[in-house]
Protein backbone atom coordinates (compact mmCIF):
# COMPACT_ATOMS: atom_id res chain seq x y z
CA UNK A 1 0.00 0.00 0.00
CA UNK A 2 1.58 3.22 -1.13
CA UNK A 3 0.63 6.30 0.86
CA UNK A 4 0.73 8.63 -2.11
CA UNK A 5 -1.30 6.48 -4.45
CA UNK A 6 -5.08 6.84 -4.83
CA UNK A 7 -5.43 3.47 -6.46
CA UNK A 8 -7.04 0.52 -4.71
CA UNK A 9 -4.34 -2.01 -4.01
CA UNK A 10 -4.78 -5.74 -3.86
CA UNK A 11 -3.16 -7.17 -0.77
CA UNK A 12 -3.41 -10.81 -1.64
CA UNK A 13 -5.42 -13.18 -3.77
CA UNK A 14 -7.18 -16.45 -2.97
CA UNK A 15 -7.34 -17.96 -6.39
CA UNK A 16 -9.61 -15.77 -8.49
CA UNK A 17 -10.63 -13.77 -5.40
CA UNK A 18 -8.45 -10.73 -4.87
CA UNK A 19 -8.56 -9.14 -1.44
CA UNK A 20 -8.12 -5.38 -1.62
CA UNK A 21 -7.28 -2.86 1.08
CA UNK A 22 -10.93 -1.79 1.07
CA UNK A 23 -12.08 -5.24 2.09
CA UNK A 24 -9.40 -5.65 4.72
CA UNK A 25 -10.16 -2.21 6.18
CA UNK A 26 -13.82 -3.10 6.29
CA UNK A 27 -13.03 -6.34 8.09
CA UNK A 28 -10.98 -4.50 10.66
CA UNK A 29 -13.82 -2.02 11.14
CA UNK A 30 -16.33 -4.88 11.48
CA UNK A 31 -14.13 -6.58 14.04
CA UNK A 32 -13.60 -3.39 16.02
CA UNK A 33 -17.29 -2.50 15.90
CA UNK A 34 -18.36 -5.98 16.97
CA UNK A 35 -15.88 -6.02 19.81
CA UNK A 36 -16.86 -2.53 20.93
CA UNK A 37 -20.58 -3.32 20.83
CA UNK A 38 -20.03 -6.53 22.75
CA UNK A 39 -17.98 -4.76 25.40
CA UNK A 40 -20.47 -1.92 25.76
CA UNK A 41 -23.62 -4.02 25.88
CA UNK A 42 -22.52 -7.05 27.87
CA UNK A 43 -23.33 -5.41 31.23
CA UNK A 44 -26.22 -3.03 30.74
CA UNK A 45 -27.47 -1.76 34.08
CA UNK A 46 -30.85 -0.41 35.13
CA UNK A 47 -29.08 2.73 36.29
CA UNK A 48 -26.87 3.60 33.28
CA UNK A 49 -23.38 5.03 33.58
CA UNK A 50 -21.82 7.49 31.14
CA UNK A 51 -20.94 5.05 28.36
CA UNK A 52 -24.28 3.26 28.56
CA UNK A 53 -26.08 6.59 28.53
CA UNK A 54 -24.18 7.67 25.44
CA UNK A 55 -24.90 4.34 23.74
CA UNK A 56 -28.60 4.57 24.56
CA UNK A 57 -28.65 8.16 23.38
CA UNK A 58 -27.09 7.08 20.06
CA UNK A 59 -29.62 4.29 19.51
CA UNK A 60 -32.50 6.50 20.58
CA UNK A 61 -31.35 9.32 18.30
CA UNK A 62 -31.17 6.93 15.34
CA UNK A 63 -34.60 5.52 16.14
CA UNK A 64 -36.09 9.00 16.49
CA UNK A 65 -34.53 10.14 13.22
CA UNK A 66 -36.00 7.13 11.44
CA UNK A 67 -39.33 7.63 13.20
CA UNK A 68 -39.47 11.23 11.98
CA UNK A 69 -39.50 10.01 8.38
CA UNK A 70 -41.26 6.66 8.71
CA UNK A 71 -43.03 6.55 12.05
CA UNK A 72 -44.93 3.33 11.38
CA UNK A 73 -41.86 1.38 10.24
CA UNK A 74 -39.33 2.86 12.65
CA UNK A 75 -38.71 -0.39 14.48
CA UNK A 76 -38.32 -2.28 11.22
CA UNK A 77 -36.03 0.22 9.49
CA UNK A 78 -33.87 1.37 12.40
CA UNK A 79 -31.33 -1.51 12.25
CA UNK A 80 -30.80 -1.05 8.54
CA UNK A 81 -30.62 2.75 8.44
CA UNK A 82 -28.67 2.87 11.72
CA UNK A 83 -26.27 0.32 10.35
CA UNK A 84 -25.73 2.45 7.25
CA UNK A 85 -25.03 5.58 9.33
CA UNK A 86 -22.66 3.88 11.76
CA UNK A 87 -20.85 1.98 9.00
CA UNK A 88 -20.47 5.03 6.78
CA UNK A 89 -19.34 7.35 9.57
CA UNK A 90 -16.62 4.96 10.66
CA UNK A 91 -15.65 4.15 7.08
CA UNK A 92 -15.44 7.82 6.13
CA UNK A 93 -13.51 8.81 9.25
CA UNK A 94 -11.10 5.89 8.95
CA UNK A 95 -9.34 7.82 6.16
CA UNK A 96 -8.04 10.20 8.83
CA UNK A 97 -5.88 7.47 10.31
CA UNK A 98 -2.34 7.45 8.99
CA UNK A 99 -1.77 4.70 6.40
CA UNK A 100 -5.47 3.88 6.20
CA UNK A 101 -7.66 4.71 3.23
CA UNK A 102 -11.38 5.13 3.65
CA UNK A 103 -13.24 2.18 2.12
CA UNK A 104 -15.82 4.62 0.77
CA UNK A 105 -13.28 6.11 -1.61
CA UNK A 106 -13.61 2.76 -3.44
CA UNK A 107 -16.41 2.77 -6.01
CA UNK A 108 -16.85 -0.95 -5.47
CA UNK A 109 -17.72 -0.38 -1.81
CA UNK A 110 -20.09 2.54 -2.43
CA UNK A 111 -21.70 0.62 -5.30
CA UNK A 112 -22.20 -2.33 -2.98
CA UNK A 113 -23.94 -0.09 -0.44
CA UNK A 114 -26.03 1.53 -3.16
CA UNK A 115 -27.08 -1.87 -4.46
CA UNK A 116 -27.99 -2.89 -0.92
CA UNK A 117 -30.15 0.22 -0.61
CA UNK A 118 -31.72 -0.50 -4.02
CA UNK A 119 -32.53 -4.05 -3.01
CA UNK A 120 -33.73 -2.97 0.41
CA UNK A 121 -36.28 -0.58 -1.09
CA UNK A 122 -37.86 -3.47 -2.98
CA UNK A 123 -37.37 -5.94 -0.13
CA UNK A 124 -39.20 -3.76 2.41
CA UNK A 125 -41.84 -2.78 -0.16
CA UNK A 126 -42.57 -6.39 -1.13
CA UNK A 127 -42.41 -7.51 2.50
CA UNK A 128 -45.00 -5.01 3.59
CA UNK A 129 -47.23 -4.76 0.51
CA UNK A 130 -46.74 -8.05 -1.25
CA UNK A 131 -45.05 -8.58 -4.63
CA UNK A 132 -48.05 -7.88 -6.85
CA UNK A 133 -49.14 -4.69 -5.17
CA UNK A 134 -45.58 -3.45 -4.93
CA UNK A 135 -44.87 -3.98 -8.61
CA UNK A 136 -48.22 -2.46 -9.47
CA UNK A 137 -47.13 0.92 -8.21
CA UNK A 138 -44.66 1.18 -11.13
CA UNK A 139 -47.65 1.25 -13.44
CA UNK A 140 -49.33 4.10 -11.63
CA UNK A 141 -50.54 6.68 -12.24
CA UNK A 142 -49.99 5.48 -15.82
CA UNK A 143 -48.13 2.48 -17.34
CA UNK A 144 -46.47 4.96 -19.66
CA UNK A 145 -44.40 6.11 -16.72
CA UNK A 146 -42.89 2.65 -16.17
CA UNK A 147 -39.66 3.43 -18.06
CA UNK A 148 -39.26 6.61 -16.10
CA UNK A 149 -39.76 4.70 -12.85
CA UNK A 150 -37.11 2.20 -13.88
CA UNK A 151 -34.69 4.92 -14.95
CA UNK A 152 -35.35 6.73 -11.68
CA UNK A 153 -34.55 3.60 -9.67
CA UNK A 154 -31.30 3.06 -11.55
CA UNK A 155 -30.12 6.65 -11.59
CA UNK A 156 -30.74 7.31 -7.93
CA UNK A 157 -28.86 4.15 -7.05
CA UNK A 158 -25.96 5.18 -9.26
CA UNK A 159 -26.14 8.66 -7.81
CA UNK A 160 -25.91 7.25 -4.29
CA UNK A 161 -22.81 5.29 -5.15
CA UNK A 162 -21.08 7.99 -7.16
CA UNK A 163 -21.94 10.82 -4.76
CA UNK A 164 -20.35 9.11 -1.80
CA UNK A 165 -17.42 7.82 -3.81
CA UNK A 166 -16.79 11.19 -5.48
CA UNK A 167 -16.89 13.17 -2.26
CA UNK A 168 -14.60 10.88 -0.30
CA UNK A 169 -12.24 10.39 -3.23
CA UNK A 170 -12.02 14.13 -3.85
CA UNK A 171 -11.40 14.79 -0.16
CA UNK A 172 -8.46 12.41 -0.05
CA UNK A 173 -7.14 13.74 -3.30
CA UNK A 174 -7.38 17.32 -2.14
CA UNK A 175 -5.61 16.45 1.09
CA UNK A 176 -2.89 14.64 -0.82
CA UNK A 177 -2.40 17.54 -3.25
CA UNK A 178 -2.30 20.14 -0.46
CA UNK A 179 0.18 17.99 1.45
CA UNK A 180 2.40 17.68 -1.62
CA UNK A 181 2.27 21.39 -2.43
CA UNK A 182 2.08 23.21 0.91
CA UNK A 183 3.90 21.13 3.50
CA UNK A 184 3.32 19.35 6.75
CA UNK A 185 0.69 21.38 8.69
CA UNK A 186 -1.20 22.86 5.72
CA UNK A 187 -3.63 19.88 5.28
CA UNK A 188 -5.03 20.36 8.81
CA UNK A 189 -7.98 22.50 7.62
CA UNK A 190 -8.54 19.93 4.90
CA UNK A 191 -8.61 17.22 7.53
CA UNK A 192 -11.18 19.19 9.53
CA UNK A 193 -13.19 19.53 6.33
CA UNK A 194 -12.75 15.78 5.94
CA UNK A 195 -14.38 15.17 9.29
CA UNK A 196 -17.34 17.39 8.49
CA UNK A 197 -17.70 15.97 5.01
CA UNK A 198 -17.46 12.42 6.33
CA UNK A 199 -20.31 13.04 8.78
CA UNK A 200 -22.40 14.90 6.22
CA UNK A 201 -21.97 12.30 3.51
CA UNK A 202 -22.82 9.49 5.90
CA UNK A 203 -25.93 11.34 7.00
CA UNK A 204 -26.93 12.11 3.41
CA UNK A 205 -26.46 8.55 2.26
CA UNK A 206 -28.39 7.10 5.15
CA UNK A 207 -31.14 9.70 4.96
CA UNK A 208 -31.57 9.19 1.22
CA UNK A 209 -31.75 5.46 1.74
CA UNK A 210 -34.37 6.03 4.43
CA UNK A 211 -36.34 8.35 2.18
CA UNK A 212 -36.24 5.87 -0.69
CA UNK A 213 -37.35 2.96 1.46
CA UNK A 214 -39.96 4.93 3.38
CA UNK A 215 -41.22 6.59 0.18
CA UNK A 216 -41.96 3.27 -1.43
CA UNK A 217 -43.64 1.88 1.66
CA UNK A 218 -45.68 4.95 2.51
CA UNK A 219 -46.79 5.57 -1.10
CA UNK A 220 -48.33 2.14 -1.06
CA UNK A 221 -49.84 2.72 2.32
CA UNK A 222 -51.33 6.05 1.24
CA UNK A 223 -52.95 4.40 -1.73
CA UNK A 224 -54.31 1.66 0.51
CA UNK A 225 -55.71 4.21 2.93
CA UNK A 226 -57.37 6.12 0.11
CA UNK A 227 -58.86 2.91 -1.22
CA UNK A 228 -60.18 1.99 2.20
CA UNK A 229 -61.71 5.45 2.58
CA UNK A 230 -63.43 5.08 -0.79
CA UNK A 231 -64.82 1.70 0.24
CA UNK A 232 -66.20 3.20 3.46
Amino acid sequence: MQQTSLDINTLFALGPVSITTTVVTTWIILLALGLLCWLLTRRLADRPQTLQTALEALVTAIENAVADVAPQQATLLTPFIGGLWIFLVINNLSGLLPGVHSPTRDLSATSALAIIVFLSVHWYGIRIQGLKQYLAHYLKPSPILLPLHIISEITRTVALAVRLFGNMMSLEMAALLVLLVAGFLAPVPILILHIVEALVQAYIFGMLALVYVAGGIQSQQLKQQRAELKKE
Binding site: I8, P16, V17, S18, I19, T20, T22, V23, T26, W27, L30, L33, G34, C37, W38, L40, T41, L44, D46, P48, Q52, L55, E56, V59, T60, T78, P79, F80, G82, G83, I86, F87, P103, D106, L107, S108, A109, S111, A112, L113, I115, I116, M169
Partner: protein
Protein backbone atom coordinates in the same frame (compact mmCIF):
# COMPACT_ATOMS: atom_id res chain seq x y z
CA UNK B 1 -11.82 4.16 -10.71
CA UNK B 2 -12.83 0.73 -11.77
CA UNK B 3 -15.37 -1.66 -10.30
CA UNK B 4 -13.87 -4.68 -8.59
CA UNK B 5 -16.57 -7.32 -8.47
CA UNK B 6 -14.85 -9.27 -5.75
CA UNK B 7 -14.70 -6.21 -3.55
CA UNK B 8 -18.29 -5.40 -4.54
CA UNK B 9 -19.57 -8.79 -3.40
CA UNK B 10 -17.40 -8.90 -0.30
CA UNK B 11 -18.59 -5.43 0.72
CA UNK B 12 -22.17 -6.55 0.38
CA UNK B 13 -21.41 -9.54 2.58
CA UNK B 14 -19.49 -7.33 5.00
CA UNK B 15 -22.40 -4.95 5.33
CA UNK B 16 -24.84 -7.77 5.94
CA UNK B 17 -22.50 -9.15 8.58
CA UNK B 18 -22.32 -5.68 10.08
CA UNK B 19 -26.10 -5.50 10.20
CA UNK B 20 -26.19 -8.82 12.03
CA UNK B 21 -23.49 -7.70 14.46
CA UNK B 22 -25.23 -4.42 15.19
CA UNK B 23 -28.59 -6.06 15.59
CA UNK B 24 -27.17 -8.80 17.80
CA UNK B 25 -24.78 -6.79 19.94
CA UNK B 26 -26.14 -3.25 19.82
CA UNK B 27 -29.81 -2.73 19.00
CA UNK B 28 -31.27 -5.76 20.70
CA UNK B 29 -29.55 -5.38 24.11
CA UNK B 30 -29.88 -1.61 24.15
CA UNK B 31 -33.52 -1.65 23.10
CA UNK B 32 -34.23 -4.41 25.59
CA UNK B 33 -32.59 -2.35 28.32
CA UNK B 34 -34.57 0.71 27.27
CA UNK B 35 -37.78 -1.29 27.09
CA UNK B 36 -37.12 -2.80 30.49
CA UNK B 37 -36.42 0.63 31.94
CA UNK B 38 -39.52 2.04 30.29
CA UNK B 39 -41.53 -0.78 31.79
CA UNK B 40 -40.00 -0.08 35.19
CA UNK B 41 -40.68 3.62 34.83
CA UNK B 42 -44.21 2.90 33.64
CA UNK B 43 -44.77 0.62 36.61
CA UNK B 44 -43.43 3.32 38.89
CA UNK B 45 -45.63 5.88 37.18
CA UNK B 46 -48.64 3.61 37.55
CA UNK B 47 -47.76 3.03 41.17
CA UNK B 48 -47.24 6.74 41.66
CA UNK B 49 -50.58 7.42 40.00
CA UNK B 50 -52.23 4.90 42.29
CA UNK B 51 -50.50 6.45 45.27
CA UNK B 52 -51.54 9.89 44.10
CA UNK B 53 -55.12 8.76 43.69
CA UNK B 54 -54.98 7.13 47.10
CA UNK B 55 -53.41 10.27 48.49
CA UNK B 56 -56.12 12.42 46.93
CA UNK B 57 -58.74 10.12 48.39
CA UNK B 58 -57.08 10.32 51.80
CA UNK B 59 -56.80 14.07 51.46
CA UNK B 60 -60.49 14.29 50.63
CA UNK B 61 -61.28 12.09 53.61
CA UNK B 62 -59.05 14.25 55.73
CA UNK B 63 -60.81 17.41 54.55
CA UNK B 64 -64.20 15.86 55.16
CA UNK B 65 -63.12 14.72 58.59
CA UNK B 66 -61.66 18.11 59.34
CA UNK B 67 -64.90 19.79 58.32
CA UNK B 68 -66.84 17.35 60.48
CA UNK B 69 -64.48 18.00 63.37
CA UNK B 70 -64.83 21.72 62.86
CA UNK B 71 -68.60 21.43 63.03
CA UNK B 72 -68.41 19.22 66.11
CA UNK B 73 -65.91 21.57 67.69
CA UNK B 74 -68.14 24.56 66.99
CA UNK B 75 -71.13 22.75 68.42
CA UNK B 76 -69.16 21.69 71.47
CA UNK B 77 -67.89 25.23 71.85
CA UNK B 78 -71.42 26.61 71.62
CA UNK B 79 -72.60 24.13 74.23
CA UNK B 80 -69.63 25.01 76.41
CA UNK B 81 -70.36 28.71 76.06
CA UNK B 82 -73.96 28.14 77.01
CA UNK B 83 -72.93 26.05 80.00
CA UNK B 84 -70.37 28.65 81.02
CA UNK B 85 -72.97 31.41 80.74
CA UNK B 86 -75.47 29.40 82.80
CA UNK B 87 -72.80 28.55 85.35
CA UNK B 88 -71.73 32.18 85.52
CA UNK B 89 -75.28 33.33 86.04
CA UNK B 90 -75.75 30.68 88.69
CA UNK B 91 -72.47 31.57 90.37
CA UNK B 92 -73.38 35.26 90.29
CA UNK B 93 -76.74 34.50 91.84
CA UNK B 94 -75.10 32.35 94.49
CA UNK B 95 -72.52 35.01 95.10
CA UNK B 96 -75.14 37.70 95.42
CA UNK B 97 -77.11 35.47 97.75
CA UNK B 98 -74.02 34.70 99.79
CA UNK B 99 -73.12 38.37 99.80
CA UNK B 100 -76.58 39.25 101.04
CA UNK B 101 -76.25 36.57 103.72
CA UNK B 102 -72.85 37.90 104.71
CA UNK B 103 -74.26 41.42 104.82
CA UNK B 104 -77.13 40.25 107.02
CA UNK B 105 -74.71 38.33 109.20
CA UNK B 106 -72.43 41.36 109.45
CA UNK B 107 -75.43 43.51 110.32
CA UNK B 108 -76.48 41.05 113.03
CA UNK B 109 -72.94 40.93 114.37
CA UNK B 110 -72.74 44.69 114.35
CA UNK B 111 -76.10 44.93 116.03
CA UNK B 112 -75.05 42.40 118.63
CA UNK B 113 -71.77 44.19 119.15
CA UNK B 114 -73.65 47.43 119.68
CA UNK B 115 -76.06 45.72 122.06
CA UNK B 116 -73.18 44.17 124.00
CA UNK B 117 -71.45 47.53 124.08
CA UNK B 118 -74.65 49.10 125.31
CA UNK B 119 -75.10 46.39 127.95
CA UNK B 120 -71.50 46.77 128.99
CA UNK B 121 -72.03 50.46 129.33
CA UNK B 122 -75.23 49.87 131.25
CA UNK B 123 -73.54 47.37 133.55
CA UNK B 124 -70.67 49.72 134.11
CA UNK B 125 -73.16 52.46 134.85
CA UNK B 126 -75.03 50.18 137.25
CA UNK B 127 -71.84 49.18 138.97
CA UNK B 128 -70.80 52.76 139.28
CA UNK B 129 -74.29 53.69 140.45
CA UNK B 130 -74.27 50.81 142.96
CA UNK B 131 -70.87 51.85 144.30
CA UNK B 132 -72.00 55.43 144.45
CA UNK B 133 -75.28 54.50 146.16
CA UNK B 134 -73.45 52.18 148.58
CA UNK B 135 -71.00 54.93 149.50
CA UNK B 136 -73.79 57.45 149.78
CA UNK B 137 -76.07 55.16 151.79
CA UNK B 138 -73.18 54.06 153.98
CA UNK B 139 -72.71 57.67 154.85
CA UNK B 140 -76.35 58.52 155.50
CA UNK B 141 -77.74 55.18 156.73
CA UNK B 142 -78.20 54.73 160.50
CA UNK B 143 -80.37 53.09 163.18
CA UNK B 144 -83.35 55.23 162.18
CA UNK B 145 -83.27 53.95 158.63
CA UNK B 146 -82.85 50.44 159.93
CA UNK B 147 -85.85 50.83 162.24
CA UNK B 148 -87.98 52.01 159.34
CA UNK B 149 -86.80 49.09 157.25
CA UNK B 150 -87.65 46.61 160.02
CA UNK B 151 -91.09 48.16 160.31
CA UNK B 152 -91.52 47.88 156.60
CA UNK B 153 -90.46 44.19 156.81
CA UNK B 154 -93.01 43.47 159.49
CA UNK B 155 -95.69 45.11 157.39
CA UNK B 156 -94.58 43.21 154.29
CA UNK B 157 -94.83 39.84 156.02
CA UNK B 158 -98.59 40.38 156.24
CA UNK B 159 -98.76 40.73 152.51
CA UNK B 160 -97.09 37.34 151.67
CA UNK B 161 -99.09 35.01 149.52
CA UNK B 162 -100.28 31.63 150.70
CA UNK B 163 -97.62 29.64 148.81
CA UNK B 164 -94.93 31.82 150.26
CA UNK B 165 -96.35 31.34 153.70
CA UNK B 166 -96.39 27.56 153.25
CA UNK B 167 -92.77 27.59 152.14
CA UNK B 168 -91.87 29.77 155.09
CA UNK B 169 -93.58 27.41 157.53
CA UNK B 170 -91.92 24.35 155.98
CA UNK B 171 -88.45 25.90 156.32
CA UNK B 172 -89.18 26.96 159.83
CA UNK B 173 -90.24 23.43 160.73
CA UNK B 174 -87.14 22.03 159.04
CA UNK B 175 -84.94 24.40 161.09
CA UNK B 176 -86.72 23.24 164.24
CA UNK B 177 -88.00 26.80 164.78
CA UNK B 178 -84.50 28.21 165.15
CA UNK B 179 -84.09 31.39 163.11
CA UNK B 180 -81.30 33.93 162.80
CA UNK B 181 -81.82 37.69 162.53
CA UNK B 182 -78.84 39.81 161.45
CA UNK B 183 -78.96 43.63 161.50
CA UNK B 184 -76.45 46.40 160.89
CA UNK B 185 -77.31 48.09 164.18
CA UNK B 186 -78.77 46.77 167.34
CA UNK B 187 -82.58 46.66 167.30
CA UNK B 188 -84.71 47.87 170.10
CA UNK B 189 -86.38 45.30 172.31
CA UNK B 190 -89.79 46.32 171.17
CA UNK B 191 -88.84 45.81 167.55
CA UNK B 192 -87.26 42.45 168.40
CA UNK B 193 -90.41 41.35 170.20
CA UNK B 194 -92.65 42.68 167.47
CA UNK B 195 -90.69 40.84 164.81
CA UNK B 196 -90.63 37.61 166.82
CA UNK B 197 -94.35 37.76 167.40
CA UNK B 198 -94.99 38.39 163.77
CA UNK B 199 -92.87 35.42 162.69
CA UNK B 200 -94.56 33.12 165.21
CA UNK B 201 -97.95 34.26 163.95
CA UNK B 202 -97.02 33.60 160.36
CA UNK B 203 -95.24 30.31 161.00
CA UNK B 204 -97.89 29.26 163.48
CA UNK B 205 -95.30 27.83 165.87
CA UNK B 206 -92.95 29.16 168.61
CA UNK B 207 -89.70 30.43 167.21
CA UNK B 208 -86.33 30.93 168.79
CA UNK B 209 -84.56 33.97 167.32
CA UNK B 210 -80.80 34.42 167.46
CA UNK B 211 -79.69 38.07 167.00
CA UNK B 212 -76.56 39.11 165.17
CA UNK B 213 -75.08 42.40 164.00
CA UNK B 214 -73.25 42.98 160.69
CA UNK B 215 -72.28 46.46 159.51
CA UNK B 216 -71.88 45.13 156.00
CA UNK B 217 -75.66 45.24 155.73
CA UNK B 218 -75.39 49.11 156.00
CA UNK B 219 -78.95 49.24 157.31
CA UNK B 220 -81.80 46.78 157.56
CA UNK B 221 -82.31 43.15 158.44
CA UNK B 222 -81.57 39.61 157.17
CA UNK B 223 -83.72 36.75 158.37
CA UNK B 224 -82.46 33.20 157.98
CA UNK B 225 -85.18 30.56 158.43
CA UNK B 226 -83.70 27.21 157.57
CA UNK B 227 -82.73 27.33 153.96
CA UNK B 228 -84.83 30.41 153.41
CA UNK B 229 -83.19 33.83 153.68
CA UNK B 230 -85.31 37.00 153.78
CA UNK B 231 -83.35 40.14 152.98
CA UNK B 232 -84.48 43.67 153.63
CA UNK B 233 -81.28 45.66 153.97
CA UNK B 234 -79.49 48.33 151.99
CA UNK B 235 -76.48 46.13 151.07
CA UNK B 236 -78.70 43.44 149.64
CA UNK B 237 -80.76 45.93 147.72
CA UNK B 238 -77.65 47.51 146.24
CA UNK B 239 -76.33 44.07 145.38
CA UNK B 240 -79.62 43.17 143.80
CA UNK B 241 -79.54 46.39 141.84
CA UNK B 242 -76.08 45.61 140.52
CA UNK B 243 -76.92 41.93 139.87
CA UNK B 244 -80.02 42.97 138.02
CA UNK B 245 -77.96 44.72 135.35
CA UNK B 246 -75.55 41.75 135.21
CA UNK B 247 -78.40 39.22 134.84
CA UNK B 248 -79.96 41.37 132.20
CA UNK B 249 -76.67 41.49 130.26
CA UNK B 250 -76.09 37.71 130.44
CA UNK B 251 -79.64 37.04 129.27
Amino acid sequence: MELNWTTFVLEIINFLVLLWILKRFLYRPVLQALHKRQQTIQQQLDKAAQLEAHGMELEQQYHNRMESWQREKQQARDVLHREIDAERIKKLADLEQELAGEKAKAAVIEQRRKAEMQQLCQHSAHQQGARFAAKLLSAVAGPEVERQLVDFLIQSLDQLEETQLVELRDNCAAAESICAATSAFALSDSQKQLLKDKLQTICQQPIQLEWHEDLALIAGLRLTIGALVLQLNVANELKGFADLSHDHRTN
